[in-house]
Symmetry: C2
Subunit: 510 residues, 2 copies
Amino acid sequence: MKKNTAELAQSQMKPETTIIAIPNNGKGRVRYDKKAESEFFVDNSALAGFTGERILYMAVRELIENSLDSCETNHILPNISLSLKLLDPENEMWLVSCQDNGIGIPSDKVPVAVCSFLTSGKYVEKQQRGLFGVGLKMIAAFSTKDTDHPLKVWTKTQEDGSEYYFELRTDIGTNRPIVLLKRIIKTGESRIQDECGFRIEAVLRARLSPITKNKIYEYISQTSIVNPYAILTFETDEGKVVFERRTEIMPHPAKEVLPHPGDMDLKTLKKAIIRFMNQKTTLQGVLCNSFQKLSSEKAKEIITKAGVDLKIADKYDEHELIKVVNICKQTKFQAPNTEHLSPIGEEILIAGMTSEYTIVTNKENTNSGDQPQQQLSTKVLRPVLTGYSSRTCVVNNRPTIVECGIAYGGDISSFKLHRFANKIPLLYDEGSDVAREVVSEVEINKMGISKKEVKEQFANPDSKSDRAVELLPIHIFFHICSTKIPYKTAGKESIASEGDLKRYMKACLA
Amino acid sequence: MKKNTAELAQSQMKPETTIIAIPNNGKGRVRYDKKAESEFFVDNSALAGFTGERILYMAVRELIENSLDSCETNHILPNISLSLKLLDPENEMWLVSCQDNGIGIPSDKVPVAVCSFLTSGKYVEKQQRGLFGVGLKMIAAFSTKDTDHPLKVWTKTQEDGSEYYFELRTDIGTNRPIVLLKRIIKTGESRIQDECGFRIEAVLRARLSPITKNKIYEYISQTSIVNPYAILTFETDEGKVVFERRTEIMPHPAKEVLPHPGDMDLKTLKKAIIRFMNQKTTLQGVLCNSFQKLSSEKAKEIITKAGVDLKIADKYDEHELIKVVNICKQTKFQAPNTEHLSPIGEEILIAGMTSEYTIVTNKENTNSGDQPQQQLSTKVLRPVLTGYSSRTCVVNNRPTIVECGIAYGGDISSFKLHRFANKIPLLYDEGSDVAREVVSEVEINKMGISKKEVKEQFANPDSKSDRAVELLPIHIFFHICSTKIPYKTAGKESIASEGDLKRYMKACLA
């Protein structure tokens, strides 16, 4: 392998993609450069959440989310093992690994799917955890820039049946994968026992603060709560903890849906037309086959209203097409289908609000020299009242379900806001999330909590401060599921107040 | 032009870049797609701040920031005219234009500099407002996807002297510019009167809510406060308002600085080596010429400590180079230079905290049929006490200056947090900004406000709530300047709590 990376070092030493080579001499000349996608995200890693102490947290969550998506794509009950171990304390090197029984990645796609930014199997309109095609690539790029260890990948798909092993690095300057090694695993050396699956090992340079460690435990606990059909195993140098499967009932796999015509723009319309290129399909045919809630009659009506001729779809120019888009923007359509969305449901959601997990390390086993064992201790809180409500709605023409739960009083002693999106917990950046705005703007008595109850708990109930609710002993729980969550960052930690989302969230709470 | 766009529609109808063409039939197959940079940012426009009601706000700020950077690059006193007018109420089309007397863009670079994402003149290590190479491209892409109007651009540089006119669109599927028209402007038709400059006109589809309109006014007012050497003219359908130049003294142009060795990783080290490719330079020579605070002796010491041979720089493999990186991470270097940074300073900062701008539309002129005139009314607040402090520090090996001001009591009646970064105001997403965390975590009496003063203003001073400070009549002002601001999103609205930034901000306030 030493030889391989020596060659790689040479091959990577291409000159930068420089469009113009005027040196910036500080006298007002500007040099225009093009950055590869990989270089852009590495240089601006905060955009993907990979900053300082969050690196290991982000790595863990991106790997778990990929694994859950991969299992659910083919309705496989997930069994996911994650491990985080200190490899080299002096240089703060950590070995992160994750193995699942999901559908795997076809061997010919592994290098780009793991290393090339903006290449993804997630660019489809359906409810899933992944969205950007950035997370796994950040792990690969950070491992490449901070260590000399290759990424190790094992993959096995049902179609192929063979288990493949890869050693990979990212060429950060060009966004291309570097394949150091690829081979078929012989029987006996197999790492994937199931019919299909995926395993990855990456070395990352990072600091693990106690705060980050707690966030990782909290992330896995909360993920387990809202995905009760998954087995999640998490191993660290302190021991191993298993979140068991609590049900075998799994939601149906999410399906890809057609875009809604209310969300049409020139780009989506042209993309639809390209799919019917050279097929002599009329614009009417393209419209009703490419968008939901658009019958053939409705399509014809729109074209007529737009005042453009009826002809083969690829014969229209932009000036004609924009008229069709404008009419669609002005037309009322039926709301999009929501039957493919998968909410959490009242039972699981209330369980989540009232459970407190603690991880206890069993010291006795440590003394006997064995692998230390950790145990989960679950405390179930008993609030005075709980409530659940949900709204099915349309946000930016995307089908969206908002679920909200509250648990109040009893042995709940302080305020806590739980946020979930497509069944993943959001733990950072609460301050910029739409849920925080909703909580600040809703009045206490609208939440079904009586003035008297509030007085019992709250010294100064007449305060006009919009923060008053945060002084109450209340847990508030929001889950948003959608074919496209409007995240504010590629790190997927906070949700933007898009369209009517906030109004529906308020309606749930008040 | 009609003919041009018809051809363009054809040329854009290339099939998508699809890596594998398995149709997603919902039975567990996944289709891997590659997105162009332009398509990625258009599909995930929230990442760049271009969402719903913020579109026009973002367009205005990206244009002003580009103009200010362009002027300051060559130490030109900025004169910037911005206009925002409703073009087509039925389809919510707005004409946004911006003209400056900055250095302009060389005519051969205009198409990529305006349309191609991740192509920028800002990818250098110096204090400037722009950072990502995304903002202007978002305007071009949104104009392309939502309208059939081309982007119109006028540019004139000192080197060339001719004024060029362009009509541009973005090919969103490939991230390439489409040049519909390019010509040299004849004398008499000139739009740029100065020696150099840049003018852009874009049509955008967007809603302008009263809230957004106020944010735009606030953005321009605050930008004027901290850039008193600029003339800013802002014209809307309601009239024209001019923020006059209040000083001719301008900070020196920011200079590009070498990276600090404490921030070295394999990527930065290899990039440095590539610059000396085939020049038979030793690693020692590369190190001391490519990083600041690294003398020739220090470089030799590091190579020796790393235990690698002394040889020509491009003969090292990754396993050897990582050892050099590891030693650099463990070595203490002098703090980076900060003399190239440009803080706001006490006088301007206090003026900013205590000024309230109101824009008054003069109704009389409207009646006479002329262009309505608007007037600026400035109210200067008289607080009981004001304070200013600053810290020069190093955050993630980047030279950083934190400035903080407070104004308390008097005719200041409520809490307000002002945030600035490299002399641009940050108006959204306060909740996720490091400044909000700092304010929440600092105790009132540490801010130099006595218990007695607090009692006079604040009913419940014994409250332990971390929100207590927000109930005080106080304006707090933070400015962070750095060669690289750790923004959380490409929309540049909130700053991450990177490295020791928070500690230094607290030290300023407490």
